[in-house]
Symmetry: C2
Subunit: 253 residues, 2 copies
Amino acid sequence: MCQLLGLNANTPTDVVFSFTGFATRAEEHRDGFGIAFFEGRGVRLFVDAQSARCSPVAEMVRRYPIRSDNILAHIRKATQGRVALENTHPFQRELWGRYWVFAHNGDLKDFAPPLHASFRPVGDTDSEHAFCWLMQELAKAHAAVPSVAELSATLRELALPIAGRGSFNFLLSNGQALWAHCSTRLAYIERAHPFRRARLADEDLSIDFSAVTAATDRVAVVVTEPLTTDETWTALAPGELAVFQDGHRLALH
Amino acid sequence: MCQLLGLNANTPTDVVFSFTGFATRAEEHRDGFGIAFFEGRGVRLFVDAQSARCSPVAEMVRRYPIRSDNILAHIRKATQGRVALENTHPFQRELWGRYWVFAHNGDLKDFAPPLHASFRPVGDTDSEHAFCWLMQELAKAHAAVPSVAELSATLRELALPIAGRGSFNFLLSNGQALWAHCSTRLAYIERAHPFRRARLADEDLSIDFSAVTAATDRVAVVVTEPLTTDETWTALAPGELAVFQDGHRLALH
């Protein structure tokens, strides 16, 4: 299985601390890694079919604090699809003049709906197929970029039948918000003033967030398994879709 | 104006030597840089709204020899569109289950055809608009990925009306071939056995290609202005579309 990491903030934030702990897990998830950073409407997407432990690209990400308000990362242990760059998450497409970035953790063995519109997988993973189908169905459901609330309602409906076919933990962002769908395992934390110290679970590293944040900063982090040992993470329930905007979770109705 | 660099080879080749000379020109083309590397069907696309002279991403590209058989790079001096990540070339879209990457040098002040299909610009450059139009028209002209020869014929027809509206030097690749359209300025070189020494025009650096190549290697490099002083570059004529595959230029009929 793979692991997911997402960050959503109300101000461009670097992910060096979280990514360092996360990349440590690449020891056993060595079939590629990828990370996407939104900057306004633009995206930087770094992918590598090497492990995040030894990839020079991952090394640059750990050293160079790229600040972003929506970040998605993925480390891969291949289950379906060869180890190849085109099978490395996150995947990216354009819809309605916005980039959409998607990363998936899980197996969808029985889900291969027909793709009849303009989104086709380039690689051969079940994940990219599901992403193309999501994009196709979003494009059918709305004529142009809808509100975050409307998108969330559509995504919740679309995720339902897919999740019945396997495990479908995913992160999705278009730069406006971060969607997290839990099928088996996802947890999140919201950090806000007063910020405190936190210690990584996977590395002997701690950080005092109060020294690197402003009082108005808000940051939400979503991950397959909690990254820190001394903070309280909230587990998402199977079937739950959470939406994060400006660093906190939105209430969906 | 911007500058373009493309590489097409019959074996995965690193672009460190050419990119080093090319990035030197970023002194006056400081509004961003980008480079795309195809690896099979996959692509790594690195973009930065900083100059290639000081960007940590460019630094990584100079140090880490990513091998690829189709590479496109661009350094930007903004003419239309703000300095922003979403306006940084190359641009990428998916069509027929293949990624397409495009970089443009020139101005298309009077070219804004309607985009009625599924390719929309994310940023606000004339270049991305033209790319979306090219993708839209390619999708209308063919039902699935056509041969390189058929694609070339369609691209030549499509480029004609655009080039009448301004300057339209571009590089385009889908990982199978590299297309180079000259409107005002583009030159190329084909390197093959016996390889020899070459000296950069912009940096005090030379390389002995015979020491780093095999006898069967073939590499074509396309660039806005020749990169080396001691090799013979061929200028493309205004209106000419060249196609490179497996490291040499194809004859088009």
